[in-house]
Subunit: 116 residues, 2 copies
C-alpha cells in the first residue's frame, strides 16, 4: 500500500478538526451530548458554566460539523452529528493509558536498578 500524502487543503481541514477537539470544555460538552440531545439550558446546568461561554463552544462544535441543532419553542437542542469523535477519543485514551503504563514500568525499572 502506497503511503497516502494529504493535500495542503486536507491537512488544514484535519488540523482544524483536531483543534476543535483540543479544548477540554468542548470535550465535556460532547460527553454530555453522548447520552442524547440536550438544550443549551440543560448543558449550562449540567456543566455549571455560564451560558455565553457554552453557547460559544457549541457554535464552534457546530461550525466544525460535529453537532447539529434543532429549535423547540425558545429552546435549542444540540446533538452529536458525527459519532466519529468518540472513536477518536477512545483511541487517544487508550494511547494515553498505554503511555502511562510504559512510564510506570520505566519508573519501576529505574527503581530496581537504583544506585547506592
Amino acid at each position: 500500500m502506497a503511503r497516502q500524502v494529504m493535500s495542503d487543503k486536507m491537512l488544514d481541514l484535519v488540523a482544524r478538526r483536531f483543534r476543535t477537539l483540543g479544548e477540554p470544555y468542548r470535550l465535556r460538552i460532547l460527553q454530555e451530548l453522548e447520552a442524547g440531545e440536550k438544550s443549551v439550558g440543560e448543558l449550562v446546568a449540567a456543566l455549571e458554566g455560564n451560558q455565553p461561554n457554552i453557547s460559544k463552544h457549541l457554535q464552534v462544535l457546530f461550525d466544525g460539523g460535529l453537532i447539529g441543532r434543532r429549535r423547540e419553542g425558545t429552546s435549542i437542542f444540540y446533538a452529536i452529528s458525527d459519532p466519529m469523535v468518540f472513536k477518536l477519543c477512545a483511541l487517544v485514551c487508550s494511547s494515553e493509558a498505554e503511555k502511562s503504563r510504559r512510564d510506570y514500568e520505566a519508573l519501576a525499572g529505574q527503581q530496581r536498578q537504583v544506585k547506592r
Copy 2:
C-alpha cells in the same frame, strides 16, 4: 455498556493531544516521518521551512510523546513513536470525505428542486 465518562485530568490530556495535532505544519512533519526517521536538516529540506520553526514544532511533538529522537554525530533523528496518530488522521479524513459527499448530495438535491 455504560457510558464511560472521562475524568477532568483525562479530558485535559486528550484535549492536549488533539491540540498537538491541530496544526497543519505538524501534520506535515508527521507525514514526512511516516516514511521513516529523518534528521532535522532533512525535514527542513523536505518541508522548505526554516530551521528554528521546525525545531520548535518537533519539540511540541516530542513533548506530546508522538515522536522520539536519537543523536547521531551532530544530527538528531526524529521518528514516530506512536503510530496511533495515523489512525486518528485516517478517521478524520474519512469523516471529512463523508461530510463533503453529503454536502455535495445536499447541493445536488437543492439544484433538482430549485424554484421558478
